[in-house]
Symmetry: D2
Subunit: 361 residues, 4 copies
Amino acid sequence: MPGSSFGTIFKVSTFGESHGKAIGCIVDGCPAGLDFDLDFIQQELDRRRPGQSAIVTQRKESDTVQVLSGVFEGKTTGTPIAMIIPNEDQRSKDYEHLAEAFRPSHADYTWHVKYGGHRDHRGGGRSSARETAARVAAGALAKLFLRTQGIFVHAYVSQVGALQLTQAYTELDLALTESNEVRCPDPEMAERMIELIRAVRKDGDTIGGIVTGLAFGCPAGLGEPVFDKLHADLGKAMLSINAAKGFEYGSGFAGVSLRGSEHNEAPPAPELAAQAGSKPNTGGGILGGISDGRDIHFRVAFKPVATIMREQDTYNAEGEPTTVKGKGRHDPCVLPRAVPIVEAMTALVLADHLLRQRSAQ
Amino acid sequence: MPGSSFGTIFKVSTFGESHGKAIGCIVDGCPAGLDFDLDFIQQELDRRRPGQSAIVTQRKESDTVQVLSGVFEGKTTGTPIAMIIPNEDQRSKDYEHLAEAFRPSHADYTWHVKYGGHRDHRGGGRSSARETAARVAAGALAKLFLRTQGIFVHAYVSQVGALQLTQAYTELDLALTESNEVRCPDPEMAERMIELIRAVRKDGDTIGGIVTGLAFGCPAGLGEPVFDKLHADLGKAMLSINAAKGFEYGSGFAGVSLRGSEHNEAPPAPELAAQAGSKPNTGGGILGGISDGRDIHFRVAFKPVATIMREQDTYNAEGEPTTVKGKGRHDPCVLPRAVPIVEAMTALVLADHLLRQRSAQ
Amino acid sequence: MPGSSFGTIFKVSTFGESHGKAIGCIVDGCPAGLDFDLDFIQQELDRRRPGQSAIVTQRKESDTVQVLSGVFEGKTTGTPIAMIIPNEDQRSKDYEHLAEAFRPSHADYTWHVKYGGHRDHRGGGRSSARETAARVAAGALAKLFLRTQGIFVHAYVSQVGALQLTQAYTELDLALTESNEVRCPDPEMAERMIELIRAVRKDGDTIGGIVTGLAFGCPAGLGEPVFDKLHADLGKAMLSINAAKGFEYGSGFAGVSLRGSEHNEAPPAPELAAQAGSKPNTGGGILGGISDGRDIHFRVAFKPVATIMREQDTYNAEGEPTTVKGKGRHDPCVLPRAVPIVEAMTALVLADHLLRQRSAQ
Amino acid sequence: MPGSSFGTIFKVSTFGESHGKAIGCIVDGCPAGLDFDLDFIQQELDRRRPGQSAIVTQRKESDTVQVLSGVFEGKTTGTPIAMIIPNEDQRSKDYEHLAEAFRPSHADYTWHVKYGGHRDHRGGGRSSARETAARVAAGALAKLFLRTQGIFVHAYVSQVGALQLTQAYTELDLALTESNEVRCPDPEMAERMIELIRAVRKDGDTIGGIVTGLAFGCPAGLGEPVFDKLHADLGKAMLSINAAKGFEYGSGFAGVSLRGSEHNEAPPAPELAAQAGSKPNTGGGILGGISDGRDIHFRVAFKPVATIMREQDTYNAEGEPTTVKGKGRHDPCVLPRAVPIVEAMTALVLADHLLRQRSAQ
């Protein structure tokens, strides 16, 4: 049972390696008649693109998307939509030293074992975060569908290293998220985060952080008991992103110390559900695994990038000790580029559950 | 697309409401020829059973499992194994006042909207945590299978309210987990946790906490790129448990503040993979979504139980303000009973991925 | 990847062996709010029941269905509906001689190999057609749902041995199908078929035949390109019934000799689609894998029952030649009892595709 | 729930329209380490290619396959293998007259209804048999995998119109199948079939026929009770091919007239299973839905191509009567080109079930 597909009705399948000919996706299950805005999809890819600013990897990839099927006269036809993104700036020799050595805290070793010793090590092969570009293309399509239903997703960087936004999302001007390189809606904090990332890079090192994810306008009723709870599918979606280490929604880990009487909130009165979105909520917009009409909010933890520009001890395929040092052009911090990926995966989960809900009654 | 099934090859489907005739499950895909130890399955159910100690709900359910199919002469036959657990101690009138009022932070309201106003409100219906008994039965079967492969799962309570174990799992005597009512392997901390739960209950209130989950003996190679990463499926499994609010593995949320040079660890040398299990690891036994042969470790956050014995403001199905106060017999803290559920879901994920790995090469 | 589930949104999973405690099913995905008519479900089971007439097996099973979940106050709740049918009249010793010998043209040998030598041989275990009772229960539920959408399914016996109805379904009075033991709507032909079956049984032998399946009132638009064409899913459903050997729809095998100019039919004008149902059609109500609003019609071939009351040469598990002779009470011809099973599987396919179509636009 | 994927472990997803930029597929689940023979895949596509002989459509498409991912240093890596086939010879204006008129016995009308009136009508869009090129590419990969397991698939044309081969496959020299344009292994019959097809085309008409499918070397044990029986999945696979109207295996429809005593065959003795392949068998190599080690044999009925070069009455999207006459370059008979498609789908089914069987014990 392979694992490169996500979703049940609005379903995406991705393919491609970092240094292969192309990466891409098929979206099967997008309803017919949707306006297909290719410019928007390309814009979303540009938000994830390498080389977009000074604090991300300087790989030069235009990440230009090509649509092969499923669209006719500017609208979706209900058939599979295939999108491909050719790989351009491959410096495979930057990775030659990795054919044998397993990078610490990287997928090299586990892929080696899983597939019997045969793997495409160039640029990390399929374990590279480059695969997420295909997700962003698919997610952009999901966003276009969600818009027609009045649903909008948004994400921003809320922590880099120990630098942590203290405001709730309701206290921030989310229009500012895209105003700076790190995608933090608090400009002052953004400046400090950028400085930290620069300092870390100068050290040849990397740093982790947290992305906050949001969805506005989601109607009550999405999520399927008992295994496919909305937050369970969101959690899986987020944890499937490269470098993700944790997921929490609503009150999350901090909420465990509260008492029920402190934590509990009345559900929105049915007629108030739509407006309830702007209120803070411990449920995170989800009760019993089903959306309640409030804003959905959650947080995703990302570890520091494993590839660093320092010499590290490790092993090779023969089990012998060796050392390895990052070459090539890598992100000192995945957070700024993780924002559009978190949004894409959120959109894919919500689009799928919106369609699933059509059969509930 | 309904949501009451979990897994792809080792697949469990559950059914049943809190106050219906029975709950139960079908496990389809358990390999043939496995010794079927019914006593062990019952023991696992007893660990989750209501009324097992003074700090859990006093509902009286024997939770006796009956096997309807899939077993012949003490061994599995490769066909679906159906197990049912009749419901016994139903005091549906404790819930009559809830037919109309939506309990705060509970699934009442969202189920009402999702299913067009028709739901079995008695005992929470299918949104009740009683459904997890079926998971524990299925998970016990998965444990039996995993044992034959040398894999063992374990979970314990590592936090209740603000009371938090500071030791890593490697510093604890896990044999003590089952020695106390709260299932914390540090007897002194266990005592304090039990006192806290008693005090909270006396107040008519509830409290949350954290369960730590572990798997020992898991070979390298489990987990499917790119969406069905092992930790993504574990995360979904844990988040699908009632009251779960967060999941993290390895270094988790705390790891985001580390630098790559601090966080990175060499992979186990191939020949050392088996022994690597006892070392602490930031990866949590999973690199790039694939197990690396080390111990798997993760943490699950549970919120305070929503049903409290105090009067709370809420709304009814007509959108009118009303109040509600818990009746019946509820848990002041889900943590002690969550332990076997976390183990069951862990076992189901690992059994499924073990079988999936058989097709990788 | 186990195989005891069918459908994607309206999904049925069955379990159970012929001589186990019970057989049954879970239907997950039935919309909430549907009137649950238990009497109707029992009536459908009675149509499949052993011992219902002189020309079927004389096994005595009341096949009384019990509902364990998913129904509240007479309506479905949207949650899984579990139904079980306890096994009653098990004469396992009739099968003792089969523990070792493989019956000719039976599943004994292949199950033995598939599951490594461990199988429940009693009454054929799970390979017994008894499993189809669970399908009939699930299919009855699907029929209840289809009725609310104006769709009705019907099947009848159109051939037994060489005795073949020459009329098209449009020339028959389908109300007569249930008026005789063999379920053939032509009373004269029915009489001849019954005589043939009696003669065959007297010889200790068995005979095959054909069931014609129909669906009326199905809207245009059901079926999913390109693999899940409506007739492809119907074909799989029919071929999954015990003893099925072939499936054809519309003009079927006979149509291959026609020229396009003879075979082609104009599609119904959109406004005429509903009335088109009563016209004969080569498409069988399906064009390009999608229903066109006309009647759906197809035919299913069933082989003679493998178990005969004569001594036959065969092999045992050690590969040694031996002989075997049927004991117990078996059907001389599966056709009369296959009719409700064909209807049930048809209803399951249509219910599923109706729900799938809700996401097409 | 979209329908453009097939299989569970060895899984293919196709995309593309007849006159879009490209068609293609992703194969996810192909085991790692398989020798990837691109030349073989291209050869298989050449067998399906338009313009290959005088009796098929004269569309000029080189159908050159490009591999985008999943292969490294000549071997599969276990990751998704994406293959695309650019569309070249599109004469979309041949189809302009069809934007409004629905061709008789064609998918035009049903797609129009299914997708709310928005469809790519050019060249039949996605309902075109051009989509099957993607299946042939995926199937060729499955063949490569099956070869390593000692399994070979083969198909040939056994009937065109009323011209019917009377020999069983065991009496034919299958090496001759590819020796003539119509792919019938009896050269004399082949000549007559070719003449018939020519005559039909001269009339501006089309004709149907039957393909016989075979698999040699398949081990006993493939097929999953109870819904995913091997022949049920084969049947679905065949019925999903454009223009297919029926499927039968082993004794098929003819077998219904036999008595059990005539029809029954002893299973192969275990040690003889491998050699059993060359014997004729009523079971078609499948008993109880599971392969028995004998040859697998089945037949697929194809209707005459719907597009004919004659004027036909029909309706347009407004429900008004109109006429339509085929333009462009169409096949007078799909049979010769259906042979590699039947083989491809057979290979996909067997590859999937081979991998599924790895979890049975």
